[in-house]
Symmetry: C2
Subunit: 307 residues, 2 copies
């Protein structure tokens, strides 16, 4: 089995890459790619740096073909919103070309796509399921929605066996990572664990969907292994909780006091802190799992067991 | 005002092109483009033949910019299904590039896009509106859906002022035009008018949505003139009727007997002859109009007043 991970040097990609050899001990080829990559990533893993938006780079990378592709590469939403040309190239045109070329070399290859809950757009307070109408409010979400549509059609044609996973924000990203409007969802873990003051821009009662990187990686691996009969789109389960409760759980597992002042950035709250409940019963019945509870989430968010 | 029509040598394009000078007497530039075009199309109209999927052709064509673009160019559904690479280039990649380049040269340009009812996919018998969930069942419909998503997002950003029109099959296409599974919807007009026998592949009670080319052209011109506040997607009204009634009306206005044997192609009926009712009340309130009745449709479908 030949396996490719794109965006392998991103937050999710580094975590997945660290699990790959263990998850696929019999793989004949494990390839990581990103614009920049460390030269090595453990024995038996090939690292190929390059820009997927360059057709020659893409064609060389994909020879002679892959049986399984995790497509994680993208630029974040707020950057894509500012840099429209870059966003179109990286988040739309490169994935279209990647999917086509993977299918041309190995028809029916498994293609696990990191989609996003940004496909939904503004939510009206009603419980979300995979059947919730999509009306993306940012270009990043529009491109993810377009790719879901393309991949579902390619799956119908048996060109690929694709599964698009609608990820919420994954926590806790490194404090240095920028470009995410939802940065507060990660910073709150780091600041509490370090015993530092934190001015959270949104109110304590802001509701979000929470998923640790460990849970996200399990979701990706499960999506790859579950079998071709599960294709199309999946809304994985996530913890539904207000940020005040997440902060309290984080303080608890770290033995810290909370030193947080809660803000009132209404625009940010509307975008990231006003999520309705999530009904992921279909994904649960397929074996996808969220973090078990807020304490598990708080520990996993800050665990050092992934790079 | 500078105006561009793509796919100008197609069935809809030829009809629109013939109305353009009259509809826009003050235009500073009227440009028609298609892969092949007659060298002239009336005074004051430029004809530029070329392949929009070629970046150099596209860039040269679009200089120095257009205020209004009618994007009609596409390959038909059954051809796009067979020729996936061609379909992706013509129906997806070329329109993405066209929209981006039009917006780059003239931000906020009006962009009227010929989408299709193929975006809906299999319909369950319930009345269709613009809010009906989309689940395209053919690649042609998936690409149209993707373009609707992109154009709505570009409109949100004010890069374009785009309106996507979900056209049903337009009648009566020339008997020579192939690639459309719905060819029977056009052939029935031609055969009855000519007093010929016709073996219709679907039963007389098959229900379709009907729109003459004359009504489709009025729809396009209305979409261009209605104003930027109407953008996004519109489901224009169409006549909802069974093909037996359409045949009877056609025989009546032509003074012919019906010499039709009705077939039982269930696959074709499911795809094109099992349409549910259509609620186009939003479009009607915006001034869009269907053919007035079946007699009007039958006359317009065969009128020689368009090339």
């Amino acid at each position: 089995m030949r396996i490719l991970v794109t965006g392998a040097n991103g937050f999710l990609g580094r975590g997945l890459s660290a699990r790959l050899a263990e998850a696929y001990p019999d793989a004949s080829r494990l390839v990581l790619t990103d614009r920049e990559l460390p030269p090595t990533f453990g024995s038996g893993i090939e690292c190929i740096a390059g820009n997927l938006a360059d057709p020659d780079v893409l064609a060389a990378l994909l020879e002679p073909g892959f049986d399984l592709v995790f497509h994680l590469a993208s630029i974040p939403g707020s950057l894509a919103e500012r840099e429209q040309d870059l966003g179109r190239r990286v988040n739309l045109l490169a994935p279209i070309e990647l999917a086509s070329q993977v299918a041309a070399r190995r028809p029916g290859a498994r293609f696990v796509f990191a989609s996003s809950i940004a496909v939904y757009g503004a939510l009206n307070g009603q419980t979300v399921t995979e059947a919730t109408p999509l009306a993306p409010a940012i270009t990043y979400g529009a491109h993810k929605h377009m790719m879901e549509t393309l991949l579902s059609d390619m799956t119908r044609q048996k060109a690929l066996s694709a599964l698009s996973i609608r990820f919420p924000g994954i926590v806790a990203r490194p404090p240095t990572e920028s470009g995410h409007g939802s940065a507060f969802m990660s910073l709150i873990f780091h600041r509490i664990a370090a015993g530092e003051d934190y001015q959270c821009p949104v109110p304590a009662e802001s509701t979000c969907w929470w998923m640790s990187r460990a849970a996200a990686i399990k979701t990706l691996l499960h999506a790859a292994k579950i079998g071709d009969e599960v294709a199309g789109v999946v809304q994985p389960p996530a913890l539904y909780a207000c940020i005040g409760d997440v902060a309290a759980a984080t303080a608890g597992v770290n033995g810290r006091q909370m030193r947080i002042s809660w803000g009132h950035d209404e625009a940010l709250r509307q975008l990231f802190g006003a999520m309705p409940p999530l009904d992921a019963s279909r994904a649960l019945s397929l074996g996808f799992r969220a973090d078990a509870n807020l304490e598990t989430l708080a520990k996993a968010a800050l665990s050092g067991d992934s790079p």
